[in-house]
């Protein structure tokens, strides 16, 4: 009996091209059946209607409430998150609010980065979180270099120039494209380590610490060789002398300088996301968010100030002692250093500025 009814309704829906009206069921032909069957019939029709309604209903994922979009993106790793937020404009708008947060949760894609021996503009990455997915990272600056160490997003890259028997060292953030050139060295045989996050160092400079020279140097590294040590010491001394002056210059900066930097700066993709007003907000938020950290830093800085004077004295003595003891290499070094020194100071001023700019861009991408 039920099958018969189904058939009837099916014929109806096919001929009328819709689900039969309830009134149809009250026609004499249907009344032939008992009341119970009629009820069943009505129920069936209701069921069919519901199914039809369910199918017809449009489900517009792009108009999903913001809270739900965020909840979904919370479960994604950074790479998927970026793809996800580019799906449509409304999802993109949530990204602007949540990107920083998302990055701070450090749910990025931990990668093994491998330096290639050949001169290649890309580096190979293996993402460990995503079933060893292979990614290619574009890093033109890293070509021909070796990765000797890393902290957070930063890599230490060493490029040996056998011809001149010197080694170029630089810090690179592959995600933002920002880089920091370090002074050339003669040989790097050992491991190179950071003692702090380059980003944080930059932060402190922005806060106006006059004693940044020491801090910046601390992130450098343990490198073998007296020459390296000496050039480091000399630079340290010079920088602490010039520290205050450089600071002023870099913060004001003539228009000419700015133009030149603009030309020099390589395009940083992440910078586009950021408006200038956003930068200030971001900084404010960061400062508010980490008052404890700052306190520690200040304390650290104070401690350093106290010791810096003593250090410098002993440093100078050490250098002089070494010069006396080993006249040959010292001379060689100083002649090389003197020529370069002026250029380096100029370059460094600019680099610091560039670096600071890219740092603000980097903040957007997060750590």
């Amino acid at each position: 009996m039920q099958i018969l009814l189904y058939k009837l309704i099916w014929i109806h829906s096919n001929t009328i091209n819709s689900i039969p009206n309830l009134t149809v069921l009250h026609c004499p032909a249907y009344n032939y059946y008992t009341g119970h069957v009629q009820e069943l019939c009505i129920e069936l029709v209701m069921d069919m209607r519901r199914v039809k309604q369910h199918k017809d209903q449009v489900r517009d994922w792009s108009s999903l409430p913001g809270g739900l979009v965020e909840k979904i993106s919370d479960n994604l790793c950074l790479y998927d998150y970026l793809c996800f937020s580019n799906v449509c404009k409304s999802w993109r708008s949530y990204q602007e609010e949540t990107l920083q947060l998302h990055c701070n949760r450090s749910s990025g894609f931990p990668c093994l980065v491998m330096s290639k021996e050949t001169e290649s503009e890309t580096a190979c990455c293996i993402s460990l979180l995503e079933k060893n997915k292979l990614l290619q990272l574009e890093m033109p600056t890293s070509s021909g270099g070796l990765f000797l160490g890393c902290i957070k997003d930063w890599l230490i890259i060493v490029k040996p120039f056998i011809k001149f028997s010197i080694t170029r060292m630089l810090l690179l953030n592959p995600f933002t494209g920002s880089k920091v050139d370090l002074p050339n060295t003669f040989s790097v045989n050992s491991k190179v380590v950071f003692s702090g996050d380059p980003e944080e160092e930059e932060d402190e400079k922005e806060e106006g610490g006059g004693d940044r020279s020491e801090e910046q140097h601390e992130k450098e590294e343990e490198v073998e060789g007296d020459l390296k040590l000496m050039s480091l010491l000399r630079q340290r001394r010079r920088r602490s002398d010039e520290g205050a002056a450089t600071k002023k210059k870099t913060s004001s900066g003539s228009d000419e300088e700015k133009d030149e930097q603009r030309r020099r700066r390589r395009p940083v993709p992440a910078a586009k996301k950021k408006s200038s007003s956003g930068e200030e907000e971001e900084q404010l938020r960061r400062r508010r968010a980490a008052p404890a950290k700052k306190k520690i830093r200040r304390r650290r800085r104070k401690r350093r100030r106290r010791t810096s004077a003593e250090e410098e004295q002993s440093d100078e003595e050490e250098v002089q002692l070494r010069r006396r003891r080993r006249p040959a290499p010292a001379k060689k070094n100083s002649s090389y250093g003197e020529e370069e020194e002026e250029d380096q100071t100029k370059n460094e001023k600019e680099k610091k500025k560039i670096c600071r700019r890219s740092t603000t861009a980097k903040k957007k991408i997060g750590t």
Partner: protein, 172 residues
């Protein structure tokens, strides 16, 4: 995830249930469900109503169809304390939400998401959002658009800018 739950849910709403209070929920399309108060209060929204003594008459659940509400009630029944003794069993039951490659499954998940959002059911919300995230993992933006049936509303220039922005990482 079927309408069979409807019968299940309405039969559980037996009025002779002793001291347990029954709540009457009415879906958007007029279907009525009777649910034990202890179960329905898994929804923060309904709990608030009960606490404020607003749940005496039929509670209209707008924006949620009968079909979806039946699924939600099935979820409540499974997640009632003591309903499923075995944690593993519950996980197994939940795993049916994990595969949403089918369009109809996706529609169901969408409905459940909206219902869970409206009724504020944290457990269901978490389950659905992670299911969606799981489904789109490793997909490119275009594949995601296809998955969600969303047409890009960026113009060509914007599209280019987006592509450049994420240039630092592309699949091999």
């Amino acid at each position: 995830m079927s309408t069979a739950a409807t019968a299940d849910a309405s039969s559980s709403g037996d009025t002779t249930e002793g001291s347990v209070r029954l709540l009457t929920l009415q879906s958007e399309d007029g279907e009525v469900f009777e649910v034990k108060e202890t179960i329905a209060t898994q929804s923060v929204t309904i709990k608030g109503m009960v606490d404020d003594d607003c749940a005496t008459s039929t509670i209209p659940v707008c924006n949620v169809t009968g079909r979806t509400l039946a699924m939600v009630i099935e979820w409540w029944n499974k997640h009632e304390i003591g309903a499923v003794s075995n944690e593993k069993e519950l996980k197994e039951w939940e795993s049916q939400f994990d595969t949403i490659d089918d369009k109809s499954d996706r529609d169901d998940v969408y409905d459940l998401l909206m219902a869970a959002n409206y009724l504020n059911i944290p457990t269901l919300l978490d389950c659905c959002t992670s299911a969606v995230a799981e489904a789109i993992k490793g997909k490119s933006t275009d594949e995601m658009r296809e998955f969600f049936d969303i047409k890009s509303d960026f113009d060509e220039k914007e599209e280019d800018a987006l592509r450049k922005e994420n240039q630092w990482a592309f699949e091999n």
